[in-house]
Amino acid sequence: MSHDGNGVALAQEAPGTPRSPGFWKRFSTMHRDALLATVILLPMIAFWLLVSGFPTLFGFVLGFFRWIGIADQPKFIGLDNFVHFFKDPTYTNALWRSIWLGGLVTCITLLSGFGAALLMNLPLWGKGFYRSIWYIPAVTSTVATTQIFNIFLDTNNGVINNILKSLGKEPIVWQYSVGWGIFWIVVYSAWKGVGAAALLWLAGLQSVDQSLYEAASMDGAGSLGKLRHVTIPGLKPIATYIFITSLISAIQIYEQVLFITNGGPYGKTEVLVFRIYRDGFWDFNLGMAGASSLIMAIIVIVITVFYYSWSTSSDRKTTIPLKKPGRGV
């Protein structure tokens, strides 16, 4: 592209303030936008390709190679990595665990967040303060707060075991138990996510047409009746959005797994994204890391595409009838 010369001319034109309606006006109607866009976007997109676009594409390609250890020569093996993925139970279990753990975390945070949002939506004194307090875990660093959880869960001098001991009970070695490992991962994720879920629900609740509530009370609906007949149907499109975005991020949870159980015991708490890390950075099995990432990406893309086709086809069904009973605001 030979836009550079013109780009410079544009840059000189920009700060000045002459009114030259003749040439520039004609020129600007034709090319100015494209040139300015090129000048602005080209460097930004070049850097984006460098740190994001190219590595992502490279990651997809990696899945089709055998590449173990950085010093190794990559060898094209077609779909072998993907075949291995579905034959090796440690991978399929990790994938399955990602899905149900993600689903569980999503359900717990969204349900409790919904309850909280209903309460925060009441005209209570101090509700803004409660909202802030609930949201705080979301802004803390996972690395830092998982370490606090680890102090609670320490075998020898952990807070919970010290309490158990003072009650005369046997201390629990949390790290030896799959169930406890999963339990604490879920507790941590819920702790961190509930405030953000409440905020999202709150925004959703406030977007429900308020005149419907008045209509409902005139029809004699009580609080529960309004919840059932106004709030829940009114939230449907937003609820789907919140559920899908939460699910997509929850099936990619790995930091709390890394810091709380580190995948143990015996890899029984591994989730797929955690496994990608383990393959990539500890075992240097770059091909399998790439193949697993591609599978994760496909799952996320499939969920997203399903959601978009669903929401565009059902928007008319759920949102437009809602407006009808409302009296014009």
Binding site: A37, Y130, I136, V139, T140, V194, E214, L258, F259, N262
Partner: protein, 308 residues
């Protein structure tokens, strides 16, 4: 919620729900705050006392000390802690600056300029946001390691590339911030284009239009973009932990990662007092940012989350 709406809500709802709200919201709020309260309390312990005490739910030190808090700025307990803090801060400021600039310019281009393929290009960029970023971590490592002509590399090999240098933090700066661009684009589309035209008639050039007229109108969304970017970078352990190794390049999160079982190996006895110091160093500034700017977070979340 407007005044009339909340007034009607007050009239319409009955008391038991309010009672429940006044009971549940503060109680669960306290439970949610508890790990942070514990963190602050533990921060007053000396290393020796923390290791020697049987830690209970609300640990109270016999000889409270401010050493851990001071260490973040002065490095009294561990010279490196102040350095990690500084690195975290520099990296956050740098990345946030670029996020503001690229989001704003990108938003302007896609909202205001008309050129062939604009909408397709934007959709393509937006679509890449659904790809999980974990896929890029290992390729990024390889790319950094093979970066041409850097760190002793000939074209691709021979040295360590830009791994373990400041470039790891710097290189991503000018890259377009796609979510930010999306938000600014949406927000700019609500500003009537007549404003641009009027400014041009008054003789304002493109730069003046951008930074003196349009930018001030975008401050709320820019605030949201900067806060979320700043918190993300401030809390990020991936980049420093995986792409750097030298001590002088570590940030607070990567320093904790190295001290944890992830970095030190399973079974290693963790240096909890130092971990708590670092955790406080990460958490307190994040909370301060949150409390000062929470208005924008709430607004912005509503904008991003609830898009019809």
């Amino acid at each position: 919620m407007s005044a009339s709406q909340s007034a009607s809500a007050r009239r319409a709802r009955f008391k038991p729900a309010h009672l429940l709200g006044h009971a549940v919201l503060p109680l669960v709020g306290l439970v949610l705050m508890y790990p942070l309260v514990f963190m602050v309390m533990a921060g007053f312990f000396t290393k020796q006392e923390f290791m020697a005490t049987v830690i209970h739910a609300f640990p109270i030190p016999k000889e409270p000390t401010l050493r851990n808090f001071r260490a973040l700025f002065e490095g009294t307990t561990d010279a490196a802690v102040a350095e990690y803090f500084r690195n975290s801060l520099l990296r956050t400021v740098y990345t946030t600056f670029w996020a503001i600039l690229t989001s704003f310019l990108g938003g302007y281009v896609f909202a205001r300029l008309r050129f062939k393929g604009r909408d397709q290009l934007f959709l393509l960029l937006l679509a890449t946001q659904m790809i999980p970023m974990t896929i890029a971590i290992i390729p990024t490592y390889l790319e950094f390691a093979r970066f041409p002509f850097m760190g002793g590399n000939d074209i691709f090999t021979g040295g360590k590339g830009i791994l373990d240098t400041w470039w790891v933090y710097l290189i991503g700066g000018p890259a377009i911030n796609i979510m930010g661009t999306f938000l600014v684009k949406q927000s700019l589309e609500k500003v009537p284009i007549e404003l641009d035209e009027a400014a041009k008639v008054d003789g304002a050039g493109t730069l003046r239009l951008l930074f003196q007229i349009l930018f001030p109108l975008q401050l709320p969304i820019m605030a949201f973009i900067s806060i979320t970017t700043a918190l993300n970078v401030w809390n990020d352990f991936v980049t420093p932990f995986f792409y750097t190794n030298s001590d002088h390049l570590q940030t607070l999160p990567s320093a904790i990662t190295r001290l944890s079982s992830v970095g030190a190996g399973p079974g290693a006895s963790a240096n909890y007092p130092l971990i708590i110091t670092l955790s406080l160093g990460i958490t307190i500034p994040a909370l301060l940012i949150f409390f000062f700017f929470q208005k924008y977070i709430v607004q912005g979340l509503a904008n991003t989350g609830i898009k019809g």
